[in-house]
Symmetry: C2
Subunit: 251 residues, 2 copies
């Protein structure tokens, strides 16, 4: 039931002995930002349900409504095939250590193969205990500045959720949004270059003669280097036409 | 001066018209987690310095101490060669749109080539205005759940800082931490397999005879599949030796 609407398509995020209700609510918001809605709670300090959590969760209240509550970490992950524990410090346990990216890539592969996976997050102050970590199959370690490692629970949930979404969605590194225009074909840019070259010739811009060829080549190169839209090309034509009109009026 | 200790090696994070002092402090902490300490502020609502910001920044107070304050967004980025604006919504401006990863990869390349770059973050409620965005060369858009996009200022700073650090540090997707042990050589695992096979043979485990070869092969395969450390191998030897001792005592 808690797995709806994506029964086996995402990891469960397990908050182990969370203290402040508002941090549970913030974690629910952080999760839902990245499409995650399977929260499990191990022995929350202030009981459950928690009004502070509800107030902070705001639009993500349904994540809390569906959260399962367990007495122990082992109970919370009993149905899972693979469990990751988030921890800042090295724990002296022989265990695979994943980057957040590596872990969520691994989780996506396991989930696609039909496994159920969970990620453990420790209490605000102390983090996970070694008994919790020894239940996990692997560790997730966020690569923070060693001189200032201060990620809190909500931030750790946020970064892990972000990496999960990155692994399952195709996000291009860069696209250009075209607002009400499209890209010109080469002959349109060529026509613009000719228009400018001709008018600037009339205006005596290509001076002295010995430099004219070089100046013209640089100008051509500038037009082709700029990511002009069709609308930009029209604006540039219009600017030059207006300069000519203005010149003719002042004759 | 504000660029110390990494003069040209990182982007400036520009908070545009931030409202709550505590959010400025949280942004400073989020930055320093990922080694970023060049903050610039555009017209902070409650003036500057701000005691709420200092209280929230905690160990990251030096980021605030070094922050530069400007009247306008244009002033804040006047010395930069390339500027990214973070925004949740499409703005109807023709502009490159980067993923956080793509943007910080691009920024790292530019900075390595000697450029100065900045990232704009909008005020808490409304986000950046189109006048701010038109100053930027490109947009950064975080790929959130379209049904629940609720990233706040601190979260946006955190994710961008995280991606910055990912681009400039080599983080392996997975390593195994070895606590007080190392990996055995093949002959050690072979010896373990022989030890178990011999004792289990004595104990009548490989029964019936017709299945013995198959059972032995499966057992060998199990040992080689498990990521055993040298310490694990010794523990397993010890377990079996103890079982034999126990058997002999009870004779």
């Amino acid at each position: 039931m808690t797995d709806a609407p994506y029964p086996h398509s995402q990891p469960a995020f397990v908050l182990v002995r969370p203290q402040m209700g508002q941090n549970i609510g913030a974690a629910a918001r952080a999760m839902l930002n990245f499409g995650l809605d399977r929260m499990r709670l191990v022995n929350p300090r202030d009981g459950w349900p928690n009004p502070d959590a509800v107030a902070m969760a705001s639009g993500a209240g349904r994540v809390l409504d569906a959260a399962m509550v367990h007495d122990t970490t082992a109970d919370a992950v009993a149905d899972c095939h693979y469990v990751y524990a988030t921890t800042a410090r090295s724990r002296g346990l022989t265990k695979p250590i994943f980057s957040p990216e590596g872990a969520m890539k691994d989780a996506a592969r396991r989930i696609a193969a039909g496994e159920r996976v969970a990620v453990l997050f420790g209490p605000e102050r102390a983090g996970l205990e070694n008994d919790d970590i020894s239940i996990a199959n692997a560790i997730i370690s966020v690569p923070v500045n060693p001189d200032f490692p201060s990620l809190n629970l909500g931030q750790c949930v946020l970064l892990t959720g972000y990496e999960w979404r990155r692994q399952i969605t195709e996000v291009p590194a860069m696209v250009t949004e075209l607002a009400g225009s499209d890209w010109p074909e080469a002959h349109e840019v060529e026509k613009l270059a000719e228009h400018y070259e001709q008018r600037l010739e009339d205006a005596g811009f290509f001076f002295p003669d010995v430099k004219a060829a070089h100046m013209k080549r640089n100008l051509r190169n500038m037009w082709s280097r700029m990511p002009l839209t069709r609308a930009d090309v029209q604006i540039l034509h219009g600017m030059m036409r207006q300069m000519v009109r203005w010149k003719n009026r002042s004759d």
